[in-house]
């Protein structure tokens, strides 16, 4: 999975009006409820970079003027950068890179069906538990649209992983039977 471009997410949040760093962090964590929360340091570092690149600029400052006191707004160039990002199609799965996948391959490589199997069983249990948890989040009457979208995304991926886990176990079983018959 490609890494999320924090700078573009921040540009998007600033498109609705100027905000301070701490407001951006709050808005980020609220709009992307199941993402890893942003660290303040990351927000300020990203804002500094965006400032350097001319995409945001300070919009008024309070007296003692530390970085946390500064509100930022998009410059004229900001919306264009945002547009370009939104218009760019993400390469669909350019690499099959997942720890899940790598562990199964390595377990089979060390020629241990039991190992692969034990790992898959434990992983399946963890995936299923998480899937139930997110399903509960989503079906709660109090869930917001952002909660539902985030849960949907995670559920769809867990569901895909689980299907892959099942198929893989069947394939490993077939393969093992062939090799040992």
């Amino acid at each position: 999975m490609t890494r999320v471009s924090t700078s573009h997410v921040l540009l998007g949040l600033l498109a609705t009006g100027p905000r301070h760093g701490y407001e951006l962090k709050r808005a980020h964590d609220e709009r992307l409820p199941r993402a890893r929360p942003l660290a303040f340091g990351q927000v300020y570092a990203t804002l500094a970079r965006l400032h350097r690149d001319g995409l945001v600029a300070p919009a008024g400052q309070e007296r003692d003027g530390g970085p946390d006191r500064t509100a930022y707004a998009l410059t004229g160039e900001g919306p264009h950068a945002l547009d370009r990002w939104l218009a760019t199609v993400e390469p669909p799965m350019p690499y099959v890179a997942s720890t899940l996948f790598a562990k199964v391959v390595v377990a089979l490589l060390v020629a241990d069906v039991d190992r692969a199997r034990d790992y898959l069983i434990a992983q399946r249990r963890a995936h299923t538990a998480r899937l139930r948890e997110l399903t509960a989040v989503k079906t709660a009457p109090t869930a917001s649209l952002d909660d539902v979208l985030a849960a949907d995304f995670a559920i769809a991926h867990l569901d895909a992983d689980l299907r892959w886990l099942h198929t893989t176990l069947d394939r490993v079983a077939d393969w093992h039977r062939e090799v040992h018959s």
């Binding site: 069906v113 039991d114 069983i121 995936h127 899937l131 079906t139 569901d159 176990l169 079983a173």
Partner: protein, 233 residues
């Protein structure tokens, strides 16, 4: 305490074994997903639990009573009053409209016509198929039929709901709508649900998952062939 239970249930169709000794306990108010590969006996198990099929051997008990020995009439009364069954392939009455199909179990239980129709319309609405209320199954899409059958299974607010692939014919969003209503009803009314599915995301709505494989419950954790080394642990 066990509410619904199967003990060593065996069932074959002629010489094809479908269940080879299934033991399963379901607590009251629990939502249990029955999963497993196609043909592993999930529908057969559901039908045995719901008193539709009689096991060749073993027993099915509900609230401590053995129901597998009951007469056809007694089991069919049970299905009309306490159990709700949602079949894998809908099984709506072809001559009746959607609303009439949904109202049917209420009418059979003695509810007045008008009241039954109102309840039927409410459930069709909840499941997103109010527009087919006066349409016969032959003129509905597969997904509409399925939702209509779901409405029919839920309208009596049964104590135990047996649902066989309730979202098999639905897109993700429609399936979710059906499952959300099903789960909310179950939680509110403390309904026990046995949910057959092959989709992990559908099983995610359950409290617990029981996996079948070749007619038996798979305890290995992942439905792997028991003939593999380490298959029994």
């Amino acid at each position: 305490m066990t509410y619904l239970q199967a003990r060593g249930v065996v069932r074959a169709y002629g010489r094809t074994p479908a269940l080879r000794g299934v033991t399963l306990d379901v607590a009251e108010g629990e939502i249990v997903a029955v999963t497993g590969p196609s043909g592993c006996g999930r529908s057969t198990l559901l039908h045995c639990l719901a008193g539709i099929l009689r096991p060749d051997a073993g027993q099915v008990t509900w609230r401590g009573e053995r129901i597998d020995g009951w007469s056809e009439a007694a089991r069919s009364r049970l299905r009309r009053t306490e159990f709700g069954v949602l079949f894998q392939f809908g099984q709506l009455v072809a001559e009746l409209t959607a609303a009439e199909n949904v109202a049917l179990p209420l009418l059979l239980a003695g509810t007045g016509r008008r009241e039954a129709r109102t309840a039927a319309l409410t459930w069709l609405e909840r499941l997103g198929v109010a527009e087919v209320a006066d349409v016969r199954p032959g003129e509905m899409s597969g997904g509409q039929q399925q939702r209509c059958a779901t409405a029919r299974a839920l309208v009596t607010e049964p104590r135990v709901l047996f649902a066989d692939e309730p979202t098999g014919a639905l897109d993700t969003l429609a399936g979710e709508q059906v499952l959300t209503h099903l789960v909310r009803l179950a939680r509110d009314q403390h309904t026990t649900v046995v949910l057959v599915t092959h989709e992990p995301r559908v099983a995610g709505y359950a409290d617990r998952e029981v996996m079948l494989r070749d007619g038996v419950v798979d305890h290995s954790g992942l439905g792997l062939d028991a003939s593999l080394p380490g298959g029994h642990r």
